[in-house]
Amino acid sequence: MEKILHKERLDDWIAALSDREILSPALEDGVWAFRPAGAAVRLDYPNTTQPPKGLAFPQREVFFSFEQVKGEAPLLRQTLPQVAQRVVFGVRPCDGRAVPRMDKVFSDHVEDPYYWARRKQVAYVGLACQQPPSSNCFCQSVGGSPVSSDGLDVLLTDLGERYFAAAVSETGKALMMAGESLFEAATDADRAQLQGAHAAALARPQRAVRDPDALPSKLKASFDSPLWEELARACIGCGICTFLCPTCHCFDINDEVTGAAPLKGKRVRTWDTCQFPDFTMHTSGHNPRENSGARLRQRVSHKFQYFHENFAMHQCTGCGRCVTGCPVGIDIVSVVNKVAEHAG
């Protein structure tokens, strides 16, 4: 389904979806974030600091609560999320492509009930990037594109006064049908304009990971390379790169106790990161990834080798957040290029 939406009707379309929760990019305290949509939604933003990942995989998820009188059987109360339908506007194509990657992780082997309870309620209305929103964008070199609709439900392309709206899923069609009278049919001229806009977007220079198809084997060959240690020399071991990543999914599970007698508390999932030194530490003190070089290697190899070996696609979607956000300039593009070059 391909339609035209005049920009001044965007708010009307959003109003037509009022039985759902609508999120859109907003600048708050200097941070672009997906926030409940206000009166006037604007989609001329660079990119959000954090991807919309948290809508399906929030930083904190309560699995269940427990209550136990000493010596008796505990009472467990499962807390599967009950969330309204949500539509998130202005999702960039790199973040759209993250969605099927996260879906794979949370459905491979067994389905994760918490992820899917949220995920099934989210619809993604994307916005094609006509200018790279960040100087660290590299989506085209990892199989994506600034106009990709992969993982999205609707892709909007800015045609000046109007949006070209393409529904790419049944959910997307339903969203557009809900505001049917607001849309106009797309003409051949509109399609030609769209193609021109997309071609121009694709031609904008970006950073690039070189020869991405060769990366799985090159990374495999570079496992013992001394380069890792050198490239991670400045790493401070914080979690920015992974916490801002649209596809990082590692987590921790802990019991949070709120009362002693009877014992009361919650079992909680929180984001975790392979960049924290104790992430892999055994209870014996043995740590398979003891230094920052090994941890950088894990992050990069997971993105460009391990995930590829399992799902035949790179996990990294080239949003560049880890590059922009790193306090000390560790740059995944330059890291993989250097390692690959070294591997010959």
Partner: protein
């Protein structure tokens, strides 16, 4: 104006003579114009070093890292490690020396004066650039000069200079082995504690609302702690990520360890984390501003630390990083200290 060649020559000579075993400085990064930390051990690498307004990092952090590495390796290298240090970085080194984290002869300070300027605030610049990347940056007197695809542009320096630099009282590394650039400590760019003073003009209710909103956003990436040279504890009180577990650590030690905060990034836990950190920085924070710079969600952490700094200054006449041999704020007592609690 510091001549970059002087920094490079200094580093090269130190390495060539074997006077130092490594130099920690700045070099050009691969993403945009921002510099990144450089670790060089060979004289010929000295030409990689740069000095410009994107040399934000407080490299004293890596002296701490080096010390930890040497301790882990049970090494005690004879030659010191050299570090390029701005005024604030040098104050951090003084605090570390004061706390006996390492000895004075284990570090060689290549001091660099910020003279009339300081470092850039990338967020402020981004506000002026509308997403266009800049490829180079320099301060030129009262101007900030940068180059984008549109050509060379100028802005008043104070519009893009980091707040901490505007408020800096000592943009000159008093403690040093060698120092480059003029001492312009008397410069007046903004009043000390200007941002804090503006903030404190608000009512307590407004301030509480402000902090709640900001702490709500914290994603607990711990970058503020990880980047701080003062946060060197092997075991951090607020979480377990650096807790040293060895084959000798008993089950009791692991089990009985107090969990001061949960890993959940909720407002109350986040506040506890940041308040605890601020308290531990009282009399130690030298206002390098790195915690605030690196925060991915823009939490104004400097205000917290500035508050502690001003309290120490006004109530105890204490200035962190002023003297290696002097008493530390929290470990010393004087008869004329205000308050009765200790008497």
């Amino acid at each position: 104006m510091i001549n970059l060649q002087d920094i490079r020559d200094t580093a090269r000579d130190l390495l060539a003579s074997g006077e130092v075993r490594a130099v920690i400085g700045f070099r050009s990064g691969s993403r945009g114009m921002a510099a990144e930390p450089a670790f060089i051990t060979r004289p010929e690498e000295a030409d990689e070093l740069v000095w410009d307004p994107t040399c934000f990092h407080n490299l004293a952090l890596y002296l701490v890292e080096d010390r930890k590495f040497q301790a882990h390796a049970r090494a005690n290298p004879a030659a010191p490690i050299a570090v390029v240090a701005k005024g604030c970085d040098a104050r951090a080194i003084v605090v570390l020396l004061q706390e006996h984290y390492f000895k004075r002869d284990q570090v060689y300070i290549i001091g660099v004066s910020c003279e009339g300027s300081g470092v850039l605030d990338e967020r402020k610049l981004a506000g002026h650039l509308n997403g266009f990347p800049a490829t180079s940056a320099a301060f030129d007197g009262d101007d900030f000069v940068f180059v984008t695809a549109q050509g060379e542009q100028r802005l008043p320096a104070r519009e893009v200079m980091a707040e901490r630099c505007l408020e800096c009282r000592e943009p000159y590394p008093r403690e040093h082995n060698v120092v480059l650039g003029e001492n312009r400590s008397g410069r007046e760019l903004a009043l000390p504690f200007a941002a804090l003073t503006r903030f404190e003009a608000q009512s307590p209710a407004e301030r509480w609302e402000f902090w709640q909103r900001h702490f709500e956003r914290c994603i607990r990436c711990y970058a503020c702690r990880s980047v701080c040279p003062m946060c060197f504890c092997d075991e951090c009180v607020v979480d377990s990520i650096t807790y040293p577990v060895t084959a000798e650590t008993t089950a009791e030690e692991k089990a009985n360890r107090v969990r001061w905060i949960e890993r959940s990034a909720t407002r109350s836990e986040n506040i506890t984390y940041h308040m605890t950190r601020a308290m531990h920085l009282a009399g130690r924070c030298v206002d390098c501003g790195e915690c605030e710079r690196v925060c991915p969600v823009n939490i104004p952490l400097r205000l917290l630390n500035n508050k502690m700094e001003r309290e120490a200054r006004e109530r105890f006449g204490y200035e962190p990083g002023a003297s290696i041999g002097g008493p530390s704020l929290v470990a010393s007592f004087r008869d004329d200290d205000p308050g009765q609690f200790i008497r």
